[in-house]
């Protein structure tokens, strides 16, 4: 059968533990002993023998996160084969940590290697000023992480200058950067005539910030009519 679907979108070559298939699909090579945390429901296909455990006892830590509202329902994938992951058409960012730490907004986690150290941390300064807490997933160690971003993301180098980011557009940043909340306080902002940019987080130090081209705060679906 001749078809552009077959010719152009067939499986891509394997190089790494994780790779991109197109910009919106993550492909993970599963091996015994190298289990993976993945967002529940993100599996779109798999080859081989892979088991999914949606509520494993190892995830007791997440109970704490549900209490904080930053619930990232995760499952554990084990087995051998190829696993394809995606999250409702969002772009997928794949990165390999070499001992670095990464602080990721819970909404933007797609999958990460189980051998990474991880935990939930409150982003410093956010709760005090904006009234809402912001909790991030911090992963650290040697291994692979897949993130999602609404639209093509951009990586900004914080070594270049202090980088200020809208909290709604923030995807992830190097753990250990100096984080400083910044409020553009103007009298007008108090009487409802603000610029719409009342609050940002400033990052400085050795590292980077990943920003998505969307302020994902609004509900994705709205009822029409």
């Amino acid at each position: 059968m001749e078809s552009s679907l077959l010719q152009n979108y067939g499986p891509t070559q394997l190089f790494d533990r994780m790779s991109n298939h197109g910009s919106k699909i993550a492909k993970v090579v599963m091996q015994p002993g190298q289990d993976l945390f993945a967002r529940t429901g993100s599996m779109i296909a798999y080859e081989g023998l892979i088991d999914f455990n949606p509520n494993p006892p190892q995830l007791g830590q997440w109970l704490k996160s549900w209490a904080t509202g930053e619930g990232v329902p995760l499952m554990i994938a084990t087995g051998q084969g190829l696993l394809y992951l995606a999250d409702y058409g969002k772009d997928v960012i794949i990165l390999q940590l070499a001992g670095e730490g990464l602080s990721v907004n819970g909404k933007n986690i797609l999958a990460f290697d189980m051998n990474l150290q991880w935990g939930i941390e409150r982003v410093k300064g956010v709760s005090m000023l904006s009234g809402m807490g912001m909790f991030n997933v911090v992963v650290r160690g040697h291994g692979w992480v897949a993130l999602t971003s609404k639209g093509t993301p951009i990586m900004l180098d914080t070594r270049e200058a202090q980088t200020l980011v809208d909290t709604d557009a923030l995807v992830a940043y190097t753990d250990g950067l100096q984080v400083q909340p910044k409020r553009t306080m103007k009298l007008g902002g108090l009487i409802g005539r603000g610029s719409g940019e009342a609050f940002q987080l400033g990052f400085s130090g050795q590292g980077f910030v990943i920003v998505q081209p969307s302020e994902d705060a609004r509900p994705t679906f709205s009822v029409r009519g």
Binding site: L14, F15, D16, Q34, K150, G151, A161, G194, S195, V209
Partner: protein, 460 residues
């Protein structure tokens, strides 16, 4: 005329001087023994070649583009930078000061870094211990290449000393080895350079060599190794592993070099280099670097306010002022940079993301018998400047050659000067959804050559 920089401020070098032969003077008044050095870094921010680590033991880069001149003209330390001679692989020069011995950067009583070109001081960045805490080194400023050469006042503390600073840039420190072992990569210490014609440091005593380093510092010399130690994790597939490290994985998402005032970062994000002010849709800033202020921008008077209310062509704008780079994006819509060059464009106000403050906007009436309610409105933008238009999905630009029709809700923009009316013959009454009054109208465009209509694949 020296421009005073504040921490975090960046500028194109060409905005300060046209010269490429620069004198960098650093003053640092603080207790303790401070070593001032310059790191020549590659595009990954790594010291890929340790002959570009210019410090007291190596006062010159191989081709002499970076030279350490030592104290002179009242400066604690000084450098000569010849930008033309710097090899292409070096994209960033970071000037750092590191403390040898006890103490911290908090104790700095006074310090500044200045750029001198042709004997005139063009830029000065002052700092003091108040900017820092218990750090033992300070990254003062960067001269870096991003499209063109730029300068940034960094003013950032670093916890470790010179050796740790070197490690963080990917260099290696030889541990307590005899000096000759560490020597191979070194150029022979040249005679101190100074008084070269054409390059004019401010008048002052002749340059001297830096004070001889204490013995244990002599061992802090970089040897070999560019890449960070190969501590690659064990990966299941080793066919062609990429270099590990989050920064390496993310290279493809790197910021695009600035090519003008408005730079496209991806199809969904633009960067605006401020200087002259710009207007943008409220809340569309996703990130910025530098000193930027965001301020409410009103509709300009009560009449305009009511007009905007009535017509629905309301621009919810904010004013962006200051110095720096601002990144705009809105809900992952596709962005398009349009340069008006004195022409005018009719736009649906809902599709406007940002524009130069030099552009004029006014609300325009489209009158036609077929329009329910009698009139329709659009926003007419004209003048010299650039605007950013957003569309949901890839739009289609249709040259107007015969009568051209577009759905009112999908049309994004059209060139001014066309005859616009409602095409009653294609009016559809769509009462599929209860409560929706139906598709109001299709617009008909009539124009001569050169006119076009932009339509997005999306109906609001």
């Amino acid at each position: 005329m020296a421009t005073e920089f504040v921490r975090g401020q960046k500028s194109q070098l060409s905005a300060l001087t046209n010269g490429t032969d620069l004198y960098v003077g650093i003053v640092l008044e603080a207790p303790g023994d401070w070593d001032i050095s310059c790191f020549g870094l590659d595009k990954d921010g790594q010291l890929s070649d340790d002959s570009y680590f210019v410090f007291f033991n190596q006062p010159k880069s191989p081709e002499g583009a970076i030279q350490k001149l030592g104290p002179q003209s009242g400066d604690t330390d000084s450098f000569r930078i010849t930008l033309d001679k710097i090899p292409a692989k070096i994209e960033k020069l970071t000037f750092c000061a590191a403390l040898d011995g006890p103490g911290s950067a908090k104790a700095i009583t006074r310090g500044y870094l200045r750029l001198v070109a042709g004997g005139t001081e063009v830029m000065r960045y002052s700092f003091s211990g108040n900017d820092f805490s218990a750090e033992r080194a300070v990254m003062i400023a960067d001269v870096y290449k991003k499209g063109v050469w730029r300068v940034a006042a960094v003013g950032q503390g670093f916890a470790g000393g010179l050796a740790e600073l070197l490690k963080s840039f990917g260099g290696e420190v030889a541990e307590e080895e005899p000096a000759p072992a560490a020597a191979p990569g070194f150029a022979p210490p040249p005679a101190p350079a100074g008084g070269t014609p054409g390059f004019a440091p401010p008048p002052g005593p002749p340059p001297q060599q830096a004070p001889p380093p204490p013995p244990q510092q002599a061992a802090a010399a970089p040897v070999g190794g560019a890449a960070p130690a190969a501590a690659a994790p064990d990966l299941p597939i080793n066919a062609q592993p990429t270099r590990p490290g989050a920064m390496v994985s993310l290279q493809k998402y790197k910021e695009a070099p600035t090519t003008g005032r408005w730079t496209k970062q991806s199809s969904k994000m633009v960067k605006c280099t401020l200087g002259p002010e710009a207007y943008a849709k409220r809340g569309s800033m996703v990130a910025y670097q530098g000193n930027v202020d965001f301020d409410y921008k009103g509709s300009g008077g009560l009449r305009q306010f009511f007009e905007a209310r009535m017509t629905g062509q309301k621009l919810q704008l904010m004013r962006c002022t200051g110095n720096g780079e601002v990144f705009f994006a809105e809900d992952a819509t596709d962005l398009h940079i349009v340069e008006l060059n004195g022409q005018s464009l009719s736009v649906n106000a809902n599709n406007v993301l940002a524009f130069d403050a030099t552009l004029r906007t006014e609300i325009q009436r489209i009158e036609s018998a077929g329009i329910p309610g009698g009139v329709m409105f659009s926003l007419l933008v004209s003048g010299q400047g650039t605007m950013v238009i957003m569309t949901h999905g890839t739009p289609v630009t249709i040259p107007v050659q015969g009568p051209t029709f577009a759905d009112v809700n999908a049309v994004v923009a059209w060139t001014a000067g066309m005859r616009v009316s409602v095409a009653s013959q294609v009016r559809i009454q769509r009462n599929i959804y209860a409560g929706v009054s139906g598709e109001p109208a299709a617009l008909q465009f009539m124009g001569l050559q050169g006119h076009f209509v932009v339509v997005q694949p999306y109906e609001v």
